[in-house]
């Protein structure tokens, strides 16, 4: 579904990603782990079109999408969330979700003046979908709150919710568990699993919470210093000494 080939990202002399290649199978939940500064988020930004790779190619659904903008990728079914929540802070939680669906009738200036009936019809539909999503995420009680006033965990859920407002094929989740309390975390895992099995979303998940990775992800890709260190199922990756070395930054004997 997604093929990354020798991706490189240079930031004026600093190479954040250095020849990173791996593939993502349709229907999988791929975990992306690695120590801080391994280039995971930079890689995400490249896949999502927020950064243009210095070199290398990205193929999505057998099509070369290298250098496409993030709004174009969204319309191809690639949606991402942000590590630090990027909610629309002056909009309500409901509005945050309602703005997502593409090709809304009322996104045209003139439709709002001259085809108001159609716009309202479309809005009713979008609104129902947004309320369903809020129900699913158990956020209905904050539907009319300003999104900027939500708690960190609620904002994370809102980020996930936005991906549900469109017909996504591949969803990139950047540390969905960071700052989310344990109970909410279990809920989040459950939601991701449901979206994967029932809606057929493919996920790539950057996460430091190993419990979550173990529970959800197969395969797991471990990155270090801008490249793929090892990929395989969770047990294989965890027991590999190179992974430990990457995390601890020193040679570890056979203590795996």
């Amino acid at each position: 579904m997604l093929e990354l080939n020798q991706l490189v990202m240079d930031f004026s002399g600093f190479r954040a990603v250095n020849g990173c290649s791996f593939n993502v199978e349709e229907g999988s939940i791929t975990g992306l782990i690695g120590p801080n500064g391994a280039g995971k988020t930079t890689l995400f930004n490249m896949i999502a079109g927020a950064l243009e790779p210095t070199s290398g190619t990205i193929k999505f659904l057998n099509e070369d999408v290298t250098g496409l903008s993030s709004d174009a990728l969204f319309h191809k079914g690639l949606v991402r969330t942000f590590q630090i929540p990027h909610e629309f802070h002056h909009l309500t939680t409901l509005e945050n979700l309602m703005m997502v669906p593409p090709h809304q009738v009322g996104e045209g200036l003139f439709a709002n003046w001259f085809r108001w009936g159609r716009v309202r019809e479309n809005e009713t539909e979008v609104e129902r979908k947004a309320y369903d999503t809020l129900d699913f995420l158990e956020l209905t009680h904050v539907a009319h709150q300003r999104a900027g006033n939500l708690s960190g965990g609620q904002k994370k859920l809102l980020e996930l919710g936005r991906t549900m407002m469109t017909d996504a094929k591949l969803v990139l989740l950047d540390e969905p568990a960071a700052g989310v309390n344990r109970t909410l975390l279990r809920k989040l895992e459950e939601k991701i699993q449901i979206l994967n099995t029932e809606r057929g979303y493919t996920f790539i998940l950057i996460e430091h919470d190993m419990e979550m990775i173990e529970k959800l992800c197969d395969p797991v890709v471990c990155m270090a210093e801008g490249a793929v260190l090892i990929e395989g199922d969770f047990q294989t990756v965890r027991s590999d000494t190179r992974v430990l070395e990457a995390y601890l930054g020193e040679t570890v004997g056979d203590a795996a």
């Binding site: 991402r80 802070h89 309500t92 997502v100 009322g106 996104e107 609104e127 539907a143 009319h144």
Partner: protein
Amino acid sequence: MELIGLANYALFMGIFIGIYALLALGLNIQWGFAGLFNAGIAGFFAVGAYTSAILTSPYAEGRLGGFELPFYVGWIGAMIAAALIAWPIGKICLRFRSDYLAIASIGVAEIIRLVIKSEAELTNSARGITNIPRPYGDLPYVQSQMAYLAIVAIVLLVAYLMVERQFNAPWGRMMRAIRDNELAARAMGKNVEYRRLEAFIFGSALMGLGGALFAHFNRSITPEAIDPMVATFLVWIMLILGGSGNNRGAILGAAVVWTIWSVSEIATDQLPQEYAVKAKYIRLFLIGLMLQLVLRFRPEGLLPEPLRGDLRSDDVSSEK
């Protein structure tokens, strides 16, 4: 006698408030909805004023004109001309981040002012365009003022309803989302450049309309009217003070600031000649002081941006 003078003054002020409210509404689309820092309002105001003047005024030696079209054609033309000018400017300048856009738009407004000042064949340069017909201008003075106030009020009401409709509609929601977080809006599939251009053109068209209404009210337009102080910064103060992001706030801001601006002129006119010139700066100071006070005690303006859930928020709240 005194009473009639006062009534006249009120009519005069009402018309100006209406014209400024249109400019503030236009700016609210650009800044309040879309977060675009346009510091070149005077430029679009001028384009609108001159376009309508050229389209409707009688023939005059040495300049373009003599079309003598009805005033409403001139006003529509003013909006179209301002929109057409806004399009290439937006195409180039909207790529800049907000403060750079401000600098670029000041420059553009200055270019427009210089073109108007020097292109005699187009605008009659410094002498300006006179004999612009005013609708119902043949009526006696007071009736004519009243008729014009009514027209301005109707135009403002229509403009307000049209802009207000957009605020809650998906278009306005999308614009506010882009303003709040450009990166996320882009990741949600919105074409940020295109949408900003739309907001810029829409706002500029209203500014052009404001210019046209101004020209027809004065029956003439000269380059002196394109003063960045009164045509750009006063409008900014109106919007910030009234509440950016709130259309009613924009109109209220126009009313409050223009009243203070205008009444303070009467006060300074009473002063002896030697102080009158200095007093002009006191008026600027007064407006600045008021802005400071509002920003200190009510940073979101007199009427803050409303929080809208959806189009039917009433039935939703009754469900809960």
